[in-house]
Symmetry: D2
Subunit: 333 residues, 4 copies
């Protein structure tokens, strides 16, 4: 997409685009920005924080940026519903990459503040929910103050000239992602890895316009779809899922969402194992598209965990090729 | 298949082959021969009665004849199992036409015999089962004598020189199909339409070698398959049927048959609505063939009842073409 | 059923009835009679050959006999379709036992006849189909003469006073089951085990009235059903099969049969693994009966091969009991 | 649960509990509070705003409150993921009622401020995403300032003594739900119904402990479940959905969620049509519970839209009763 960074030949482990300008769900220092930093080339590119997922995706559609990073699942700072809804309607978009970010929190304060001094803590409400157990144990009696994002609770302490202070903020310490401290080393870290669940991971996607080059198949891929359900009746969803099952295509995520315009009509946001270049995926997509002609393809892209997709022999490309050849021969008789 | 009789261009209502020599499950005068007489050109062709279904089909495979007519369903004189088993193994064969024959019986005897004189009746045991109700009412106390076929019970009365007698046969009257009387008008008909079920119909097929020209699609077609089931487990059959259901393909007949070599392994003999030239059928066949690579195609041919196959819009050829075009466009991105 | 022959208490491995009078598809010496001889108590009971399957089953319904043995699958002498159709309509019947009979043939002739003397052979046409390969190799140029049953071809040689002759019969030798020779040792066996497929087995069932005691579960059982299909549409059969699959119930036989009264309407004759006393079978039957209120239960009975039915843990009786208890507790809240 | 309001007999349109103390996802003035106000008795009860969904649900579990209102779908202020995750683990909870709240926004400012004076607007980021179109048209060039909730942007203008001012807040106007204005009429409404999508609705649930009385069936009910998926393989989800489909139970919402402890394992949060007292629902729950023994029941409760659930005749209670009676009779034979 972008000649300026294309000096490096893209390898199979580097399917990302070469965009110069990226939007992300801001502000700076959020987990979304941490996700963006995993996109090849992004650390050296122009990265623009946006107020909302729709704003970030609008910037892609309007060609203000080349691509955007937005949350797709389990985000600690919200936005998942907005992403699901936004990519499902309006001008088409394409997912080029998925990015997993471990959810780690640090407790930060101005220099000199000790852990036992902390009486009030600020962060995003979702983050607070994830460190509540730690706080009750380590900061008994602490008061919580909401902030619009995790980063905001820390950034608000900075005066921009190297000074750190909580004066006038109404709280003693903030909880944010480690990336904020990397950027602002003047922040003092009072405690690390304070999440109640150390395994927590959140998932983001890099979204571009449909003319972006689709990542090549790697054997460990995902495909994302939007399937509007035309009717609210028993078995309708099943009929769609059978299109996947009869080709041995596994679902890795499914979410029904009410369409905004008609209460009671739904669409399904679905991730499946495999790449549209895999015969079993292409064949399943044909089946789904026949049943739901408004089905939208959001992209095929490598799995972030690189876990190879196991395919039964009778759903392999070889099986499709042989079966198609058999039928074609018969049809020619 | 045969240039000698191909002076007439075949139309949609005349998909049959132009064979010179036909085998059929004999002897002469059976319902199978009545079925053969419905094949275009057959009344003027050489028609050879065979002792068994395997013998009739062997004659096709060995090119002794061009095609054979054998029972496929509900035959009053048996042979269905033999047909199912025989076409499922050995050299491949093709069904070119299905033929429905109403099951009508006539009671025949030598001239001068009256209905009230009949004390013993002979016919095929299956035929006897179908007229038993009539016989109990109209021939109280009658004794039944088995015959190897319906025709045999009548033909045995003929001396070949125009004479009709039951002397030495051990019975007074025979029960056969009306076609025997058409050929041998010297037989006296004592009663017509004596079947207990006047709606009964039996189904036959015209079978040829795989190099025969496949009948063109008519919009009212059937396709016959043999699907060997590789494993005896819950859901295995379901997995195959879902390949049909996900393409909107209706089953019109299904029969599981134990394979002869391994008790407990099964194959399925299946008829479906539609022609292999229909996209939904071709797509379903691909799916079945992937799961069961030994799946055998027995042919696509017009339904004998000419009843048009109704296809939901999303399973129509147009839906397949649009969906395939959509996927192909995406794959090209 | 009958105390007169029940001196021995029936154990789990001996579920058969204690009937005094049995009907079977005759004549004497058929494979059906061989099947009947496997029924506990039958060798000492009165056994009545009948001309047809409907006649044998009518004798049960009319209480002329206590039970009947008829073919259910793959019978070398036909009758399967008649059995399927007859048990599916009219007064209800119950299958109490299934019986497997190996298909073995012997070639018999009068004393003094040598194998090389045999020019013409008679037997049932289906039997002839199964020894055709042997005959072509061992009796080159032999001529076939149809007989109404395998036994008939042999029994016709007997004069009833110990003499054996083919004079006036029109053939030199017959092909029948070994049981005929056991009963008539005056027949000379020219060749044994002449079936082209040495593994062939045919399946029979013992049928009684619904008031017969149902065989207790053994862990290796079958259940037979008749399921009329109310409508000829894609997925209708699938809907029924899913009732079995969702309870882990395996199908071991399925056959669609046109109903006699309306061409195009079908019923399904189905055998499933398991006993109606198994929770998963009872639950599946409930589901099928809801969809097809005319579903007919033909009985639960031990598998002839005694092969234990493997059941996944989540389809076991224990799983049903736990799940039902969970739901019942919730409903009581 | 609450004697104080129990003088009135509860009717079908009033299934809610009679709790004295309610928690809700705060602060005051949010859409969650608007949902709580629809709970019978709640306007007169003690209603306690909580910082997070987990905090609100913990208050229920710890018996600090009788019940809590939290978002379940499409919430404009987030919290849905937290609700899904929280009710799925830990001590069991029960949903007693679902509540729909139309998403309506008003633009509020201190008295005297005119629409054309507004240069900066504050609200929750998700709310901003939903009025962005209106803002671009009616407030060209406006700057957005995030707030932790919609209510917070308005409440911050109040001095608690009837005064309204934006001094020191960094913005000129706030966007909140109409309920804030009802409570604080001193706020001036500059614009009403400014949502880009006038049909938007968000869904909340009233959650209590499992000993709460389950709402009686009304014919227009929902049931919520948590189904942990034991394995990540093709068809696993399908197997569960077939348990619903074979009983004619419709899904109205489905969402897969990664479990927090093992990346790659999923659970499904599912809403279905019908009440556990409906036979088809109880039967489906049994099936799901057998396959996934950790399945969790979250409650059966009336649909907020009162839309009656249509049930095919063969999935009605009457069909279940008849089928069960048929099977029970057979088992007794």
């Amino acid at each position: 997409m972008n000649a300026a960074v294309s000096g490096v030949a893209p390898g199979p482990s580097d399917p990302g685009p070469r965009a110069r300008r990226y939007a992300f769900l801001g502000p700076e220092g959020t987990f979304t920005e941490a996700a963006l930093m995993q996109v090849p080339g992004a650390p050296d590119a122009e990265c623009i924080p946006m107020n909302s997922v729709p704003a970030a995706l609008a910037a892609v559609r309007e060609e203000t940026v080349d691509a955007a990073v937005v949350p797709l699942e389990n985000s600690v700072e919200g936005g998942v519903s907005a992403t699901l809804d936004d990519v499902s309607f309006g001008a088409e978009l394409r997912i080029l990459q998925e990015i997993l970010v471990p959810i780690r929190f640090v407790l930060v304060a101005p220099d000199g503040v000790r852990l036992q001094d902390v009486r009030t803590v600020s962060t995003h409400t979702h983050a607070w929910a994830q460190i509540r157990g730690w706080a009750e144990t380590n900061l008994p009696g602490v008061t919580y103050v909401p902030a619009p994002s995790t980063a905001a609770s820390a950034v608000a302490m900075l005066d921009g000239r190297g000074g750190v202070s909580t004066q006038g903020l109404g709280y003693d310490a903030g909880v944010c992602s480690p990336v904020v401290v990397q950027r602002h080393p003047e922040l003092q870290v009072l405690a690390e890895d304070i999440s109640d669940n150390e395994q927590a991971v959140t998932r983001f996607v890099l979204v571009a316009r449909p003319d972006a080059t689709m990542p090549a198949p790697t054997g460990a891929d995902k495909t994302s779809l939007v399937v509007p359900l035309w009717e609210d009746r028993p078995g309708a969803l099943l009929e769609i899922l059978e299109q996947f099952a009869t080709r041995g295509v596994n679902l890795t995520r499914i979410e029904s969402r009410p369409t905004k315009t008609h209460l009671g009509d739904y669409f399904f946001s679905v991730d499946i194992d495999g790449h549209i270049q895999d015969d079993r995926v292409a064949d399943a997509l044909m089946g789904v598209r026949r049943i739901c002609p408004r089905t939208r393809f959001l992209g095929s892209y490598p799995r972030a965990d690189r876990r190879e997709v196991r395919v039964a022999k009778h759903h392999s490309d070889a099986a499709f090729i042989q079966a198609r050849s058999w039928v074609d021969n018969l049809k020619g008789q």
